[in-house]
Amino acid sequence: MEFEFTKEQQDFRQEVRNFFRKVPWIEIRRENKPFDLLSFYKEVTAKGWTGLLAPKEYGGQRKDAIYETIFAEEISYSEAPPDVILYFSMIEYCTNLVLRCATENQKKEYLPRVIRGELRATQMYTEPDSGSDLASVKTNAVRKGDYYIINGQKMFTSNIDSPYSILMARTDPYAPPEKGISLFILDNNAPGISYTFLKNICEIETTQVFLEDVKIHKENLIGEENKGWDYFLRTKDCYWHKARVWTYVNWQKMFDAIVQYVKNTRANGRLLSKNPAVRQQIAEMIIDLKALRLLIYRLSFMRSAGLDTLGFAAILKIIGDDAFLRLANNAMQILGLFGQLGGGTSYTPLSGMMEAMYRAAAIYHYVDSGGAVKAKDFLATYGLGLPELSRGDA
C-alpha cells in the first residue's frame, strides 16, 4: 500500500499545473480576451497529454488511469473554462471506448485521430421512452449495403456542436433488449439530423435530436454488431469516474472559499465559524471531500491494475453523488438567506457558486445515469449478485 504519488507522477502533476496555470483563463473568460484555443490544444497534444492512456503503437504514451486523473485534476484546478475541460473529457471518453470496444483496425484508424482531438464525441444514448431503462432504446439502425440507415429520437444530448456522437441504436429488434444494441460513430453534421434545444436546471442547453434516414458507413459501427450494450457497460466506469473528478475539484476549491467565508463573516453577533451547527456542516464537508478523493484514486489505481472496476465505479458514484448533494446543501444552509442568490447581484456571496452547485447536484444525484438509485441497483445486482429487476409487460 502506498498513499503517495511517485516522483514521476509528482513531476507530471507539476508540469501540467504550470502549463495550464500560465494561461490567463480568468481574463479570457471575463474580458473576452482573444485567445487561440486551437494552437493551445495543439501544444497540449504535442506534449502527449491527450494520449496518456493509449498504447505507443497508436501514438499514445501508455501511462495509466492515475496519470489520467492527475491530468483531469490539474486542468480543473487551473480555472480553464468548461469548454476546455469538455474538450479533454471527450478525448478521454473516446480513448476508453475505442481501447476497450473497437476492433484492431478501428484502434489503428481512430486512436491517432482521437489523440489529435479530431475524433471527439458526445453521447446519443437516452431517448424519450428510454431513460433509466436504457436498454429499451428504439432508435433503429437498418443495414443497407455498406451503410446503416438510422431512424429515431434522442433526448438530453449535450454538446451537439462537437464533431461526432456515439450513437446507441437497435440493430436486432427481435433479440432480447440487451442483445440487439450497437454503438456507432455518428458525424453530427450528417444529413437527416435535426434538433431542438432543452434548457436544464443548470441552464445548460441540451437537445432533443431527431434522426431521419441518417446514413452511417458500416465502418463506423464500433466493434461488433449487437454488442453495444456490453460496450456501454464496459466504459461506464470511466464515465462515472471522470465526471466525479471534475466536480470533486470544483468542490475542493469552493470549500476553501467557504472556510474563509465562515471565518470572516459575522451573524447574530458572532463569527459563523463559532456557530456549532456551522462547524458540524463544515466538518461533514471535509469528510466527504477526503473520502471522495481517496475513492477517486482507488478507482484510478484499480483501472491501471486492470481489475474489474464496474462495481467499484458504482460505489464511487453512490458516495460521490451523496457527497455533492450534501456539500451543496450544507453550503447553502451556511449562507442562509443569501444562499438563494444567483451570481451577478452585489449581495451575492461567493459569486453565486453555491446556488449553482445546488442545482448541479440535482443532475448528479437524480439524473445522471439514472441517478444514485440506479447505481445502487447496479451495485446490488452486478456487484453483490442480487437478482436483477425483471422487465414488466406494461
Binding site: R279, A283, I315, I318, I319, A380, L386
Partner: protein, 379 residues
Amino acid sequence: MDFSLSDEQEMLKRSAKDFLKKEPSVRLFQGTPQDEKGYSSQLWHKMADLGWQGLVFPEDYGGQSGSFLDLVILLEEIGYALLTSPFFASIILGGLSVLEAGSEQQKRRYLPKVTKGECILTLALAESGTRYEGEPDNIKVKGILRQGVFILNGIKLFVPYAHVADYLVCVTRTEDKGEANDGITAFIIDKASPGISCIPLKTIGQDNQCEVRLENVMVSRQNVLGGLNNGWPFIENVLQKATIALCACMNGAMQRILEITVDYAKNRVQFGRTIGSSQVLQHHCADISAALEASRTLTFEAAWKISRGIHCPMEVSVAKSWASESYRQASWHGMQIHGGVGSATDHEMSLFYRRAKAAELTLGDAALHQEKIAARLLD
C-alpha cells in the same frame, strides 16, 4: 498510489480468516459470554502461537516487527469474526502504551510476556462525567506522592478486560496546576495490588468492560510510565492508534454484516420470491457496501500514515467519523433484512447491532470527531 496489499499482507489476511473460521470457540463466545472470563483462553494462546499478539512489537521483545498497517489488516479479520478476546485491551491499549512510553527496563519486563499472550494489560482511562476517553480535564483519579510512594484513589470506568488483566496502565492526576493536560501521570500497576477491585459493567456490546476502584493503592515511582506529570502526550498518541485500530475492527464487522445480509436476502423467500429481489432491500445492501469501501479506504490511509510515523489527527478523525456512522447504519440495514431471525440472541446479527453502537461511542462518535475536525480547520 497503490491500494493493494503486499503478498505477506495477503497471506496474513487469508491465514487469519481461515483460522478464525475454523476455530469453534470464536462462535462459542458470540452472544452472552459462556464462562466467568468472558473469552476463551485456549483460543487466546493459539493466537499467540500464530504470533498475533506480537505482530507490531519489535523482535527484541518477542514480537515480529510488523507495521501498524499489518496490524490493521489482522484487526479487520478479528472484527469480521466478532472475536471476543482481550486483544484490543492488551495489545492496542496496554501494549502500545508500554511500547510508546515505557523505559527500556519496563519494555523488557512487560512486553515479552504480552507478546506471548502470557500476560494481559489494559488501559484505565475514562472516568465518570466524560463523554470521550480523550478528554484530559476529566482525569480526576488522584495520585499523591507520600514518602516516595504514590497513593492512588478514585474510580476508572469502561476499562476493557480489567477483570482478567494482570496489569493496568492507569492514568491519574498527580498535579492540579496548569493546563488540563499537564499534571497527568500514567502508572503501570499490578492488578493484584491491595486496594484494587473490579466490577463488570453491563454494556450493550457485552464486551467485558469494567469499573475499577482504586482505594489507597500504593505504587512505586519506578512504575511511572512516560514522564511524571507528562503522561498525556503518549496517551494521545496511543488513542490515535487505537482509534484507527478500532476502525479496522469496525470495517471487518461491516464486511461480515454485508456478507450475511446479502446471503440471507438471496435465500429468504417471502411472497413467493427472494426478498433480495426487492429494490428497497437491494439498496440497503448497496448502501452497506458503498459506505464500507469508503470507510476502509479512509482507515487504510490513516493507518499508512501512522505506519510511516506521520502525525495525522485529521485523517484519524475523518476515518472514525465515517466508520461510526457507516457501521451503525450497516447494523440497522442488516437488522431490517434479517428481520425476526436477526433479533435472536444467538444470531450474530443481534450482536453486531449491539457492537456497532458500542464501537460508535468508543473513542469518539461522529459528532465528537467532527468538532475536532472543525477546530482544526476553523480555530
